[in-house]
């Protein structure tokens, strides 16, 4: 366990800025183990950018790097993202 680890709730504002909808209640299915979890329950690590990991198998789901005007969003490990529309 990493004391610096947070969860998806901590980046709710950033996610809403990028996706323009509330994302912590969106459901993500891990491309590694197939577990489905709310984005708010994913494990979040912050360094130069943000990495969201599967709380079940720790697989990297989403990466976000942001500067003043742009965001680079990678989806290395998400099979599906279920968003309320």
């Amino acid at each position: 366990m990493d004391a610096l680890m947070l969860d998806g709730n901590a980046i709710a504002g950033l996610l809403q800025e990028v996706f323009a909808v509330e994302m912590t209640t969106a459901l993500g299915t891990c491309g590694g183990c197939g577990a489905t979890n709310a984005v708010g329950a994913t494990h979040v690590y912050r360094g130069a950018g943000i990495v969201m990991r599967c709380p079940h198998c720790k697989n990297a789901l989403v990466t976000i790097v942001k500067d003043e005007t742009r965001a680079w969003i990678g989806f290395p490990g998400v099979r599906t993202l279920q968003v309320t529309v």
């Binding site: 366990m1 990493d2 004391a3 610096l4 680890m5 947070l6 969860d7 998806g8 709730n9 901590a10 980046i11 709710a12 504002g13 809403q16 800025e17 323009a20 909808v21 509330e22 912590t24 209640t25 709310a38 984005v39 708010g40 329950a41 912050r46 309320t84």
Partner: protein
């Protein structure tokens, strides 16, 4: 209202300080008036942005402590001595000062009175803040949802909202304290970190399928969530919110 608050891009709003209330040593509640505030649900956050004269900006996320109430919101902030934002919020802000914030954000770690109970709320230190918003929303709505709050603090004087919790205790709400470092001489309550045995005693039983909310520092949340699942609580009913030392 909930839908309007969920959809759409976030915009920065100007919030004016209307009061600063000391809670414990190093913890203060700041009351803001936020014209244009869209309303919030208990457990949601705001992002706070401070801008220095040279344009440098620092941004942090804080849980809202107050029940939904028109354009007024309260943040309870713990000062982290090496923090960038919390010392300013707790030491420098005065009535009439303005800061920028946006929100509400989040929707996962949320409880609404219409959801009912039973509820088990477990907090470490200032992790009580979003849970207090739930207790206040419960009170405001006149909800009688059976609720237990287990609050872990270092000492009796470190218990945030102590007086208000004493007042709210009853009417289906049971408040249980554990004091991990120092205890008053006559203390007969828990005096250790939250563990599975304590969680089993505080209840409710997993067979009652309570909605469980756990908030605190990451190691606290990890330990409590693991113990809860071991006791038989359904993982999908255990919602967690971790805050780390980077929150300052």
């Amino acid at each position: 209202m909930a839908r309007a608050a969920v959809l759409g891009r976030l915009t920065w709003l100007v919030a004016e300080v209307v009061d600063v209330v000391p809670e414990t040593d190093g913890v203060k509640t700041i009351v803001f008036d936020v014209p244009g505030w869209p309303g919030h649900r208990a457990g949601q956050h705001v992002d706070v942005r401070l801008t220095a004269e040279d344009g440098y900006q620092a941004q942090r996320s804080y849980s809202i402590a107050s029940a939904p109430d028109a354009s007024r919101i309260e943040l309870t902030v713990e000062r982290l001595d090496d923090g960038e934002v919390s010392p300013y919020l707790t030491e420098e802000l005065r009535e009439g000062d303005q800061i920028e914030l946006r929100g509400p954000v989040g929707g996962y770690f949320v409880w609404e009175p219409s959801q009912g109970g039973p509820l088990l709320l477990v907090a470490g230190g200032s992790g009580v803040v979003p849970l207090m918003a739930m207790l206040r929303a419960r009170e405001t709505a006149g909800s009688d949802a059976e609720t237990r709050l287990l609050l872990s603090s270092r000492g009796w004087d470190d218990v945030i909202y102590r007086g208000e919790l004493e007042r709210l205790d009853g009417d289906g709400l049971t408040v249980v304290h554990t004091l991990t470092r120092t205890q008053p001489q006559s203390w007969t309550g828990y005096a250790r970190r939250v563990d599975a045995e304590m969680l089993a005693e505080v209840g409710p039983d997993p067979t009652e399928r309570p909605f469980v909310y756990v908030c605190g520092p990451t190691p606290f949340v990890e330990a409590v969530a693991e113990a809860l699942v071991r006791l038989g609580h359904a993982p999908q009913n255990v919602k967690t919110e971790r805050f780390g030392p980077t929150g300052g």
